[in-house]
């Protein structure tokens, strides 16, 4: 009896395969012509550069659009590009198989970024980690506090100007 149930649970591969970056770009361009998706040089990453103020709006549209359905929030992170920060979001669609990268720039100090937790619950901890590691404040985040480092840790380690002790000692030698 139980074995029957288990056997029924195995689905044959009515399984979406991933769209290539070009196909994803075309699909997005057709649905939302205002966004200009660009394909990276190696032809494998489809990215959309968005000003940080419209991040939430663009994410909502990508999630809710009936042809796109980017409902899967893979991850979010930040990159320290020496003179500015770059926010990176990876969204995927289990229905169409497409994946798109949202990229946004912001200043290193003084600026806050909008939170995406209203659109995707999965943004919560990733934004906390970005806050912890880079010092980026996300406005509207329900629970912005350190996640990986202790509360009394000083500094933000993944910034390029944060010199870790072992690097410092290695340089001295």
């Amino acid at each position: 009896m139980f074995d029957q149930e288990m056997k029924q649970n195995i689905q044959q591969s009515s399984h979406p395969t991933a769209l290539s970056a070009e196909a994803t770009g075309e699909m997005i361009a057709r649905a939302l012509p205002d966004l200009k998706p660009s394909i990276s040089s190696a032809g494998q990453i489809c990215r959309i550069q968005v000003p940080k103020e419209s991040l939430v709006e663009v994410a909502e549209t990508l999630k809710g659009h009936p042809d796109l359905r980017f409902t899967y929030f893979s991850f979010m992170s930040a990159i320290d590009r020496s003179d500015h920060f770059e926010l990176v979001y990876l969204l995927q669609s289990p229905t169409t198989g497409g994946s798109v990268w949202l990229r946004s720039s912001m200043a290193r100090d003084g600026e806050a970024a909008p939170t995406l937790t209203g659109v995707y619950s999965g943004a919560g901890w990733h934004e906390r980690e970005a806050y912890d590691m880079f010092g980026i404040v996300f406005e509207g985040h329900p629970d912005l506090r350190t996640i990986l480092l202790p509360e009394d840790f000083q500094g933000h380690p993944l910034r390029k100007d944060f010199v870790a002790a072992y690097d410092f000692l290695a340089e001295r030698q």
């Binding site: 139980f2 649970n9 893979s74 990159i79 990986l148 380690p157």
Partner: protein, 378 residues
Amino acid sequence: MTVDYEVQEMLPEPHEFHELELNMGPQHPSTHGVLRLLLTLDSEVILKAQPHIGYLHRSFEKFAEGMTYTQFLPYTDRLDYVSAITNEFGYCLAAEKLAGIEVPRRAQYLRVIAAELQRIASHLLFVATFGNDLAAVTVFLYGFRDRERVIDILDSLSGQRLTYHYLRLGGVMADAVPGLDRKVLDLVDYLIPRLDELDELFTNNVIFRRRTENVGILTAEQALDFGVSGPNLRGSGVAWDVRKADPYSSYQDFEFDVPTGRQGDCFDRYAVRIEEMRQSLRILKQAVEGLPEGEIRTKVSRNLKPPAGEAYAHVEGARGDVGFFLISDGSTNPYRLKIRGPSFIHTMALETILKGWKIADVIAVLGSIDIVLGEVDR
């Protein structure tokens, strides 16, 4: 007889009379690592479950910026230390994408063999610890006995039992030992009846069923919203397996099914993993019988300098979708490495899953989510 303490001290604050805050961990036999769960309870019901992590944070992403691509490779083993090969896999694929390195077919097949063996070993450990948490102690020992057989084969391939460092940039470290196909086929013959025995003893046990069915339900929308992947996502009914969706390293050559659950309860997640083990055995058989001849590694300089750019590679690990986002600035060290650890996201989802269930269900849910703190904290 004098009583020198107040009874009131033992009760919670008067204005929150019905709420009790209980701390689970970071040292606890069932949290599978150093995880701290702060539970707010109303008698037995969980009102709020807040995971606190960071006890195993080792700043791998910062390390990556300070060493070469080859030097960082052993560190990837230590991320999800229970399923080490898959981390190496993701990192190697990302670095190879970045530098435009082609991996020979024989190496691709060997990687697949190692990855599927690792998946079986990891799922056996899951079953063992799940049983142990639910007080079926014998399952723990049976799981580890079978895991020994799998690890023996991986040991013969790489010389290690837990953190293998078997995959290298451009291929694998060492060729298949003579008789590997015999060993793998023997393992397949050995494990299939063992999995059936496990079904009889444990999966179909009424008490186990009652404890895991309809408990800790994660709906498909919630799962997608959080970014849950792997057997947890498939347990909720979403058929999404990176090996099928985005095939890498010759996975398209193999025939296998992707099991899914129905409602996303603990039992579904458990059953999906058991079925996945059977499918992995299928893949292993095909891989080992169809192993092509050729090189096992493309020559890659030790101080690899990939051109400036970025690459993302993800693999289907035992726990979920393990992703590596590498950015290069043309030097020998990565400019930025972001590791997408599925257990990090699953721990985040724990807060939503646990709300409304009872204390005793915490153990079943934690066990069925199958997190490894190495991946959570990095």
